[in-house]
């Protein structure tokens, strides 16, 4: 009997002591945490991609709660919609960052850009870029080792075996920007998704002078200024023999696409052009 009693007493005693210690500890080491952090974290997409510049959604939530002005902070995944909700929950003003998606600004496929030598080093764009300008005459374009695909944690990219260029699967891209960081040639850019996913961009980053660029790649931007002159919205800037379309100013009129002599300006997700079809029909008739 005594043994049983002793056992029970010992256990109860241990329990009581532990309870007291735990209680004291919880009081003494209590960390105040703003309850709003949890609320914000709920709103955030929980991808923990780090695209916002913070290590994970929780850290971003903390930063959002702490900051006085959150207009310059953006969650690239949820973009303005998410940020509006966050702003509402916190009673702050959100910026109006548009939803974005990655685009590959190089169209130097094996057909367009002739291979002049064979790379035989480690399969890594970063290593190849440190060594030389690449297998083709264009030292700005895609090296094709797939560092971006490696960096993408959301399976939103793959290397097209035929063209040798990376392809972005728009539906899967969450705009975390890891591929942009991974590309040593700065070919990948985050651009606004645009209305109905329609986008226009210069698919080339070659800064060589026109003839040199054209010689190494058929579809290079040669800096001819045609698009710059025709753009009615001042959305195009020229620098270093290269055109750039500002996606905030672009009204998607597609005039630049038509004038580009090397077809280096790309349009995505537009319906097929009626006008051209009609013109062609007319040409056939006459």
């Amino acid at each position: 009997m005594n043994v049983v009693l002793l056992t029970i007493l010992t256990l109860v005693g241990l329990g009581v002591i532990s309870a007291v210690v735990l209680y004291m500890a919880s009081k003494k080491f209590y960390v105040f945490e703003d309850t709003r952090i949890d609320v914000v974290e709920e709103i955030l997409p929980a991808t923990n991609c780090g695209g916002c510049g913070f290590p994970g959604c929780r850290a971003f939530a903390e930063a959002l709660v702490k900051a006085d002005d959150i207009s310059s902070m953006n969650c690239p995944v949820g973009s303005s919609a998410t940020m509006a909700k966050v702003a509402e929950a916190l009673g702050k003003v959100a910026g109006n960052a548009k939803p974005q998606v990655a685009v590959v600004r190089c169209n130097g496929t094996c057909e367009h850009r002739l291979k002049l030598n064979n790379y035989d080093g480690a399969i890594s764009c970063a290593v190849a870029a440190a060594l030389y300008g690449g297998e083709t005459g264009c030292s700005y374009g895609c090296l094709g080792c797939g560092d971006c695909v490696e960096a993408c944690k959301y399976d939103a990219m793959y290397m097209d075996e035929e063209t040798g260029l990376p392809v972005i699967i728009e539906d899967k891209c969450i705009a975390c920007g890891k591929c942009v960081e991974a590309c040593p040639k700065n070919i990948i850019e985050m651009r606004n998704i645009g209305p109905k996913s329609r986008r226009i961009f210069v698919s080339c980053v070659n800064k060589d002078k026109g003839p040199v660029a054209k010689k190494s790649c058929e579809v290079a931007c040669i800096g001819c200024n045609k698009c710059f002159k025709i753009c009615p919205h001042d959305a195009i800037t020229m620098a270093d023999n290269l055109a750039y379309i500002d996606d905030d100013a672009c009204k998607l009129c597609r005039k630049c696409v038509e004038v580009c002599p090397t077809f280096s300006i790309h349009e995505l997700n537009f319906p097929p052009r009626k006008k051209k079809a009609e013109e062609e029909a007319a040409a056939v008739e006459s």
Partner: protein, 446 residues
């Protein structure tokens, strides 16, 4: 027991095919392309424009900072244009294209073959003239020589070490220079000693060049302060830090310059160029280039003007063999593979090595078997397998702790790896990334 460095090292096949070929003068090329960035540091600023008439030896691009170097016209003729050409860096960079007409030299340059022995210039003047003549380290690093001759305040140079090691397989330019221009090289060494204000100079030569050791020993017998140190054949003995340790047993601490242990190292090619610059008033417009390779018909050593296309050199050596897989500027261990043979010869081009197809491709990469051979051959005492893994995974802070910046890129690890892993490829990447991080940290602190 011959002296050598203490850690690691390998002994690749020497293949010094052109060791017995006398230096020949390469005929002038009709058009030369002179890159304005042939050295470590700021690119020079072009002084000429299209249509200018230039003479051989005239300054055509001016040094644009302390760590930079003048560039002189290697030929006389008309400047055709300034254009971006692919140089041995593998990228397009600005070069001055000169159409060669005749060979008219700038006045005041002594082209006579007589050796001028008496040294009349003072310390300051020597350094100034070296800078004016655009002399850079000709061993391959192309670091402007005058910078090395101006030790930072508070540090004293005790002795000069001359690098006659030529540890790269195939290359023989320095070897031939020591044999054929030994006396001039030694006058260059004396000039360097005067510029550095030191009493002692050691010329380190590997034991696979017994003729050069004998010749230089004979010549330097009567010169006070100069001695020859025969060294055991071991790659990378030509590395500055390895050579200092091999010669005087001192190790340059991590991240420090050789002056920390009281030594300054110059190459024999550089000493020859310095002799010409001071005694003959001739700027650096030509250098000895070894053209070699197992498939080359006529391997040789050619005195080549800067800016000459590599293709001309290859022609002189019997043309590009049919089965060529790779053309390398420099030696097989540290040289750069060229993407085209139109690349011009620059100040740092020590050789042109042609590799046949079957020796050109790398073997397929296998998994690391952790055999530790890379660790045992590393002459800096690093762990290449670990550095590669860290670089592959972009863990830069650990790579910094593991001293990735100490790597001298000698390539011994990739050479020895049984799994043919691209160790140095990734270590080099890690080195440049960590270097950026460290530099941005120091600028932030300032």
């Amino acid at each position: 027991m011959l002296k050598t460095f203490s850690l690691g090292g390998i002994h690749p096949e020497e293949n010094k095919l052109s060791a017995d070929c006398e230096i020949e003068v390469l005929p002038l090329s009709p058009v030369v392309k002179v890159p304005i960035s042939q050295h470590i540091g700021a690119p020079a600023q072009a002084l000429v424009k299209k249509g200018d008439i230039v003479k051989t030896g005239q300054v055509i691009a001016k040094s644009s900072g302390f760590v930079s170097a003048n560039i002189h016209s290697p030929v006389s003729g008309t400047v055709e244009k300034l254009e971006e050409v692919i140089d041995s860096s593998g990228y397009r960079r600005t070069a001055i294209i000169i159409k060669s007409e005749g060979d008219e030299w700038e006045e005041g340059i002594d082209r006579s073959p007589e050796i001028k022995r008496e040294i009349s210039s003072g310390k300051e003047e020597i350094i100034k003239r070296i800078a004016e003549a655009g002399i850079v380290g000709l061993g391959g690093a192309t670091f402007p020589s005058h910078v090395k001759l101006s030790p930072p305040p508070g540090q004293k140079c005790e002795l000069l070490i001359i690098n006659g090691v030529e540890c790269e397989p195939y290359l023989t330019g320095d070897h031939r220079l020591m044999l054929e221009k030994g006396e001039e090289v030694l006058i260059g060494v004396q000039l360097l000693m005067k510029a550095l204000d030191v009493k002692r100079a050691i010329i380190g030569i590997e034991n696979n060049k017994p003729d050069a050791i004998k010749h230089i020993t004979n010549l330097s017998k009567d010169i006070e302060g100069i001695s020859v140190q025969p060294l055991k054949v071991q790659y990378p003995q030509g590395g500055e830090k390895q050579l200092i340790e091999a010669c005087i047993g001192r190790q340059v601490p991590s991240g420090k310059l050789p002056i920390e242990v009281g030594a300054v190292v110059h190459n024999v090619g550089t000493s020859y160029a310095i002799y010409e610059a001071i005694q003959k008033n001739k700027p650096l417009i030509e250098r000895v280039v070894t053209v070699t390779g197992k498939s080359v018909k006529k391997p040789g050593n050619y005195l080549t003007r800067i800016g000459t296309p590599v293709s001309d050199l290859i022609e002189a050596a019997g043309g590009l063999p049919e089965d060529t897989g790779k053309v390398i500027s420099g030696g097989p261990m540290m040289g750069k593979a060229l993407s085209t043979v139109d690349v011009p010869v620059a100040k740092g081009t020590s050789g042109v090595l042609i590799m046949p197809d079957e020796l050109s491709s790398r073997k397929p990469v296998q998994d690391c078997i952790r055999c530790a051979k890379c660790v045992s051959v590393c002459s800096m005492g690093l762990s290449p397998y670990l550095l590669m893994a860290l670089s592959e995974r972009a863990i830069w802070d650990s790579a910094e702790e593991e001293k990735v910046l100490d790597c001298i890129e000698c390539g011994s690890c990739s050479y020895i790896c049984p799994s043919s892993r691209p160790l140095l490829d990734y270590i080099r990447l890690g080195k440049s990334k960590v270097g950026q991080i460290v530099r941005s940290r120091t600028t932030q602190q300032q």
